[in-house]
């Protein structure tokens, strides 16, 4: 609860019309961003707890079904709890994110806050074009790599090694639920995206 209260207090400050509309001075905007950043970091513990809770619920309901691959999978061994640190990328607005830029193996967890199933195209800033995305069912996802536009790469305050964005379709995200994807850097030489020849 103290972690959540940190976020509650930050959100209380964000009720000010300047924080909502962006009419504040830039130094004030930066301070609002700092408040939110600290609060989001504080809530990482809550994120882990909630996702573990969802995993427990899912396991319980799926093992109760009479047939299906999931039931067999859950039944094969003890369920493992998430021990990950869940990081929110607050610099995605400049196509930058520390985890995919540094790690060769990382997990993306997507939580759907809507009360309906949705599919969403995901864009992840990455330094190279050789990554493989797998879902929980051992299915390799179709991916595409696009260059981060030059004006973004050239921003002088952007400290990022990401040159490309990895795009894939996260399909059928359950309502008020989540899906995770395991993303690995591969050793192969992949084709870099090239623009259409000038016509």
């Amino acid at each position: 609860d103290p972690h959540l209260s940190f976020m509650r207090e930050a959100m209380g400050v964000m009720q000010h019309h300047d924080a909502v509309t962006g009419t504040e001075k830039q130094a004030v905007a930066a301070d609002y961003a700092r408040h939110l950043e600290v609060a989001i970091r504080a809530c990482a513990t809550n994120t882990k707890e909630v996702l573990n809770q969802l995993t427990v619920d899912t396991a319980a309901s799926e093992s109760a079904t009479e047939s299906g691959r999931r039931e067999r999978r859950w039944a094969t061994g003890p369920k493992k709890e998430y021990t990950f640190k869940f990081e929110t990328c607050t610099l995605l607005n400049i196509s930058s994110c520390a985890v995919p830029e540094k790690a060769d193996k990382f997990v993306l967890t997507l939580y759907n806050p809507l009360a309906q199933t949705v599919s969403e195209f995901v864009r992840i800033p990455v330094p190279d074009v050789n990554y493989e995305v797998k879902d929980f069912d051992d299915v390799t996802m179709e991916t595409q790599f696009l260059p981060i536009p030059a004006p973004i790469q050239d921003l002088n305050f952007r400290k990022s090694s990401a040159l490309y964005e990895l795009v894939f379709l996260a399909s059928s995200l359950p309502p008020l639920g989540y899906k995770s994807y395991y993303i690995t850097k591969t050793s192969g030489n992949a084709m870099k995206p090239v623009p259409d020849p000038a016509n």
């Binding site: 869940f86 990081e87 967890t109 973004i152 623009p195």
Partner: protein, 289 residues
């Protein structure tokens, strides 16, 4: 006939002409003229001692003239195609660029703009607008959202409850857009969704515009006592954001209707999935599974 390239899918196709501008959009079995450009209003320099003659500033939008100025006559294009998304990277000048993209099986097109730092070496404040002109005969009527809920009918140079004569034609027709602005005629409909609150209007038949960035050199005397002229990182601010364009039939009877598509897209874009990244160097795929 002059269009030289296009991006799209089975629901929506965007055609670009030889000058690098969007010229038509094909959706719902019809092709409509829709072009998009970045223009700017020159900010008014007023006399702050007179209430009706204040400068354009943090609190008020007051262009010096109703006429807009073009930003670029021939943007440079790069086109990337793939199995999931097709993108056009447009570079208008040193401080305005944009990526237009259409994802597979989506009914909308994305316009991700990057504007700034706005040059003010000429001593003039500038208010940058993304403008979509179409051949839809909207007759001065357009719709803006009420905080993401119902849509409110607006009519250019008109107020519902009194006879108005606007002394400031442009600013007097601007309205707050929280999520959506739209117009239509008997056949077609065009809507733009925003990713943040912006000012917007329809300054001509079939035209929609949204203000994306501004840099001003004079205070408007409403209290802040400073010009809206930020110089973080040693130069003017840079803004990045996205508009979502949806074009379709206004008469569509079968589901989903164009307005239903707009509503679903609005929900999904304003309340997207939350992304959490975790380093997995210490866990292999089998264990993770």
């Amino acid at each position: 006939k002059s269009s030289f390239t296009s991006i799209g899918n089975e629901y929506i196709r965007l055609n670009f002409d030889t000058n690098g501008f969007l010229v038509t959009v094909t959706a719902d079995g019809m092709t409509r003229i829709v072009n998009q450009e970045f223009v700017y209003y020159e900010a008014a320099i007023g006399n702050n001692r007179e209430f009706r003659n204040r400068s354009s500033g943090a609190y008020i939008f007051r262009p010096a003239h109703d006429q807009v100025r073009s930003i670029s006559l021939q943007p440079k294009l790069k086109i990337y195609r793939g199995n999931l998304v097709e993108e056009v990277h447009q570079s208008f000048n040193e401080w305005v660029s944009q990526v237009v993209r259409v994802y597979r099986q989506q009914h909308h097109a994305e316009f991700e703009w990057l504007v700034g730092p706005i040059p003010v070496d000429d001593g003039r404040g500038k208010e940058i607008v993304s403008r979509f002109n179409s051949d839809i005969d909207s007759a001065g009527v357009f719709y803006t959202d009420s905080n993401g809920r119902e849509m409110l009918k607006r009519k250019r140079d008109h107020r519902d409850t009194w006879k108005v004569k606007l002394l400031e034609h442009t600013a007097g027709n601007y309205y707050p857009i929280t999520t959506k602005i739209a117009l239509e005629d008997d056949n077609a409909r065009m809507a733009i969704l925003t990713d943040r609150a912006q000012g917007g209007s329809s300054m001509g038949a079939g035209s929609l515009e949204l203000m994306v960035h501004r840099r001003l050199l004079h205070d408007d005397a409403f209290g802040v006592d400073e010009a809206l002229n930020e110089t973080a990182y040693g130069e003017g601010l840079i803004a990045r954001g996205t508009h979502y364009l949806i074009v379709g039939s206004s008469q569509k009877q079968q589901s989903p209707t164009t307005q239903a598509i707009e509503r679903f897209t609005q929900l999904r874009k304003l309340l997207p999935a939350w992304s959490f990244f975790s380093d997995a160097e210490d866990i292999d795929y089998a264990d993770w599974r």
